[in-house]
């Protein structure tokens, strides 16, 4: 579904990504792991059009994403969450999720100002869809809260609800359990399993090894901007290059 080839990105001569290539298959949960500074978030930003790669190809359902703007990529059916949460604190929880349906809300300023009957119907349908998504993420009791007063764990769930509400073809999750306690992590993991069994294709960027190893279909390991390993969780766990990247070489630790 998503195909990366030779993707490279430099920041002022400093290579952040180098010759990265892998594939995300439809219906699978692919995990992207790697130590801090490996280039995981840079890669996500390149896929979603927030950054443009210097070279390489990123193809999504047959279309090249390189050169497209962020909103155009979103229109193709790629939704994402952000590592450093980007919820809208002053909007209500429900409106935050509805913002994930902006595209379906129509985008003509004049039509919106006239609030024609067909738009009113659409609004009602979108609201039901948003409430449904809140329900799936156990946030419906807080639908009319200003999102700014939610706890950290709730905010993480809200971002996922907002990204998933549009039923995207591909869902990119940037560290959904970072900073959560084990109970909250378990809840998110359950959520990810539900999303996958509902047929969502996901690319999960994560530090939490237990989570990744327990739910990913395929794992890709990034280190210093290079793709050093890929395969099933078991294959990756046994790969000496991965052990080295995470634990250091014998000489370095000795």
């Amino acid at each position: 579904m998503l195909h990366l080839e030779h993707v490279a990105k430099n920041f002022g001569g400093l290579p952040a990504l180098c010759e990265v290539g892998f594939e995300v298959k439809a219906g699978q949960l692919t995990a992207l792991i790697g130590p801090n500074g490996a280039g995981k978030t840079t890669l996500i930003n390149c896929i979603t059009g927030i950054l443009q790669p210097d070279s390489g190809n990123i193809r999504f359902r047959g279309q090249n994403l390189v050169g497209l703007a962020a909103h155009q990529i979103s229109h193709l059916g790629i939704a994402r969450t952000f590592q450093n949460l980007k919820i809208f604190p002053r909007l209500t929880v429900l409106d935050n999720v509805l913002a994930g349906l902006t595209v379906q809300g129509g985008n003509s300023l004049l039509m919106a100002m006239l609030r024609l009957p067909y738009l009113r119907h659409r609004e009602r349908r979108l609201k039901l869809q948003a409430l449904d998504s809140l329900d799936r993420f156990q946030l419906s009791a807080k639908a009319d809260w200003p999102a700014g007063i939610l706890s950290y764990g709730d905010r993480k769930r809200l971002e996922m609800a907002r990204a998933a509400v549009s039923e995207p073809h591909l869902l990119l999750l940037d560290e959904p359990v970072a900073g959560l306690n084990s109970e909250e992590t378990a809840a998110i993991a359950e959520q990810l399993r539900i999303l996958r069994s509902a047929g969502h294709t996901m690319l999960l960027v994560e530090h939490d090894m237990d989570l990744v190893m327990s739910i990913a279909d395929e794992v890709i390991v990034l280190d210093s901007g290079r793709c050093i390993a890929s395969g099933t969780p078991d294959e990756v766990r046994r790969n000496p290059l991965v052990l080295e990247a995470y634990l250091g070489t014998m000489e370095a630790t000795a």
Partner: protein, 332 residues
């Protein structure tokens, strides 16, 4: 549900429509109780300012941008109508529409490069635009009448009905203002409105959610400029005389102050903000003399203590209190 609960639920569900209905009724009967032309004149001025401030509230409060140049669009509307009717002999209504169209085109043309700027740079650029416009009004006196102003602008009329006294103007101007209010309320409750709110909240997140941020900004800029232009035309036809000082940079900042008082992301707040700032010099003479100091002081105080704006800030506080209160009382 008991019938009392049902009533409350009905009110809650239709709160926007009901508030508009109540406001319309009050405005409809207002001239029956208040026939002092001076007071009516003041309320008419509030109506005109509100149209400008509504548009600006969309641009500043919803889309999260800044403009210290909307007095220029207000002035373009006023002078456009004046020149079209007096110099070129057009009748007032087509003049108003033509001027609004030209201002919209102009705003679209300068909006594309202008809105690549953000924050302080955008503030300075729009302020500069307003400054240049004000200077053109002062210097190009064959066309604009220069510092002494432009006189003899005809009143608006529908058939034989001339809008030339305060009561008639009350209905005309507040009619326009209510219409603008309704259109803006519809807009912010739509998908487009949520896209704008997202844009104000976080531009990267808005783009990732599918909002074409560059386009959305220009669209709202054009909309707000058009509204300011229509308000300016109404202003010219109401007073039959205009002069450059009604469109200088201090007026432009006053519009922004009205938005800030009313609040970021509050359509109803604009009525409060516009009313308060328009009335302030009437209540206390001191404010008249030191108007710019007082307005600047209010702006600084509001931004320090309630950065979302006065009305919106208070509303937010109540909403948070209510949500927390309900959580405490909810059976867990």
């Amino acid at each position: 549900m008991t019938s009392k609960e049902k009533l409350f639920y009905f009110i809650y569900l239709h709160r926007t429509g009901l508030t508009v209905a109540v406001l319309s009724t009050v405005l409809l009967v207002y001239p029956l109780f208040q026939d002092n032309p001076y007071t009516l004149g003041l309320s008419n001025l509030i109506a005109i300012n509100t149209i400008v401030v509504l548009g600006l509230a969309l641009f500043v409060g919803y889309a999260g941008q800044i403009s210290l140049g909307h007095a220029a669009f207000f002035g373009m509307g006023a002078y456009g109508s004046a020149i079209a009717t007096v110099t070129f002999g057009l009748s007032p209504w087509p003049a108003l529409a033509l001027t609004a169209l030209l201002v919209a085109l102009f705003a679209g043309l300068i909006g594309v490069p202008l809105l690549r700027l953000a924050g302080h740079y955008l503030a300075m650029a729009t302020l500069g635009m307003n400054f240049v416009f004000h200077n053109i009004l002062l210097q190009w006196d064959q066309v604009t009448g220069g510092p002494s102003g432009f006189a003899g602008i005809p009143s608006l009329a529908i058939g034989p009905l001339m809008f030339d006294d305060e009561v008639r103007l009350h209905y005309l101007l507040w009619g326009f203002t209510l219409l603008a209010l309704l259109l803006c309320l519809n807009l912010v409750r739509s998908g487009v409105g949520r896209g704008l709110a997202a844009l104000a909240g976080d531009e990267t997140a808005a783009a990732a959610l599918g909002v074409d941020t560059a386009r959305a900004k220009v669209k709202v800029f054009v909309l707000s400029a058009t509204m300011a232009s229509i308000a300016g035309s109404l202003f010219a036809h109401t007073y039959n005389f205009i002069s450059p000082d009604s469109f200088d940079i201090f007026v432009a900042t006053d519009f922004v102050i009205m938005v800030v008082i009313g609040g970021m992301g509050s359509i109803w707040g604009t009525l409060v903000g516009t009313g308060l700032i328009t009335m302030l010099p009437e209540w206390v003479d001191l404010f008249e003399t030191y108007k710019d100091f007082v307005h600047g002081g209010i702006l600084v105080l509001v931004l320090i203590f309630l950065p979302q704006g006065l009305v919106a800030g208070l509303v937010d506080m109540v909403r948070i209190k209510l949500a927390l209160h309900r959580q405490k009382n909810a059976p867990s």
